[in-house]
Amino acid sequence: MSELVQVYLPMFLVFAVGAAIVAVFWLGGHYLGPKNPNPEKLQPYECGNDSDGARGVRMSVKFYLTAILFVVFDIEAVFIYPWAVLFKGLGWTGFLTMLAFIAALLVALAYCWKKGALEWES
């Protein structure tokens, strides 16, 4: 068995064992629990009132600009990862490169901030 398999196999087995444990609980619940559904019980819970309004309410997503920023910055973070691992061999050159990269990120963040992209209501 190759070294790669030896290192990664336990990872998947942890999932497998976890799935087995979940299955035991789930089956336990399935066989031990009662099943008496009735229309009242199956209503969406709204503190005892009858459910009000149609299903699939439309909601205003106030944070969509932040969500786009999140995608951008998450990718930038991914760029920093290989640098962080190899940093020790790169010396001052590596440091200055990353200084420029992070400075660019900070300027971008400052711009978004100034433009109000980080405000909840705008």
Binding site: L13, V17, G33, P44, F70, F73, I102, L118
Partner: protein, 324 residues
């Protein structure tokens, strides 16, 4: 230990998951005891000595209750969300180093793997919120997403500080480096300590613990994404939440507090002690603080923690370059 690599891998996997589930069961007891004491109550006392058998009784009880799938719910997604949440939480356990020999999988990308799996956690919670077809659940799910896009970047960047200091993404490697050069929480003047605080804060947000239990918010949203969940499905969610808090403590202990490193006592004991201490801190905070609002969390993360962690990275870089 056996020499057959397949059997060994299976044993390690089983040992890690079983240990974690057992720990989760009794940590619910511990949390209820502490919560009780903080609120001048006794906590569980009836089942077994000091209420110690309470978690077992709870598990059996929740299996005997009826699992309800509400009328308008998306049944498949509704069923899938709790096991997914627990699986993601348990999967992280594979890369937690308990001692030099007890580490299920010391992959080169351990830190990335742990962060990636715990980062995925907001998805099954959003799925639960959406599939329930309940307005409270939906609002809770939305808040979970809002929370996810806030804490994730400072968390990922603060976890990079120990990676820069150690020069490796392997969890075992980070601990070995700390055993030789001192724990990151005290080394690299101030940088490690601040990064530790940021990581702990974002870990609270990730685990939906007070002061960041914004998606659940039981005083406004009933129970947020888990409103419609009953019986064993709800228990799976609860177990996942505790497993997640415990693993977040373990990751923080590994990255910043030197993991298994420590004098006299065996390595695994040190790891358990450090993880336990961090979990107690989280529990203490939970029963002492109030909840923030979504926009407050967003402001905190984007306007303070993101710039701060970027500067911390540069600080760590300066420190490493000067030291070599």
């Amino acid at each position: 230990m056996t020499n057959d690599p397949w059997l060994r891998a299976l044993l390690e996997g089983a040992a890690v998951v079983t240990a974690l589930m057992t720990a989760v069961a009794w940590i619910t007891w511990l949390e209820r005891k502490i919560a009780g004491r903080i609120q001048s109550r006794l906590g569980p006392t009836m089942v077994g000595p000091f209420g110690l058998l309470q978690p077992l009784a709870d598990a059996v009880k929740s299996m005997q209750k009826e699992s309800i799938v509400p009328r308008d719910a998306d049944a498949l997604l509704f069923w899938l969300a709790p096991p997914l949440t627990l699986a993601l939480a348990l999967g992280t356990a594979a890369v937690i180093p308990f001692s030099p020999g007890l580490l299920a999988s010391d992959v080169d990308i351990g830190v990335l793997y742990a962060l990636a799996l715990s980062g995925l956690l907001s998805f099954p919670i959003w799925i639960a919120g959406w599939a329930s077809n309940n307005k409270y659940s939906l609002l809770g799910g939305m808040r979970m997403v809002a929370q996810g896009i806030s804490y994730e970047i400072p968390m990922v960047l603060s976890a990079l500080v120990p990676v820069v200091l150690a020069g490796t993404l392997s969890m075992g490697g980070v601990v070995r480096h700390q055993a030789e050069h001192g724990w990151f929480v005290v080394s690299a003047p101030g940088v490690g300590f601040v990064a530790f605080l940021v990581f702990l804060l974002t870990a609270l947000a990730e685990g939906n613990r007070i002061p960041f239990d914004i998606p659940e918010a039981e005083s406004e949203l009933v129970a947020g994404p888990t409103t419609e969940y009953t019986a064993i499905q709800w228990s799976l969610f609860a177990a996942a939440e505790y497993a997640h808090s415990l693993l977040a403590s373990a990751i923080a202990a590994t990255l910043f507090l030197g993991g298994w490193d420590g004098p006299v006592l065996p390595p695994a004991v040190w790891m358990v002690l450090k993880t336990g201490a961090l979990f107690l801190l989280i529990t203490w905070l939970r029963w002492s603080l109030l909840r923030l609002r979504s926009d407050q969390l967003m402001s905190l993360c984007w306007k303070l923690l993101v710039p701060l962690t970027l500067l911390l990275l540069l600080g760590a870089g300066t420190w490493v370059t000067l030291a070599t």
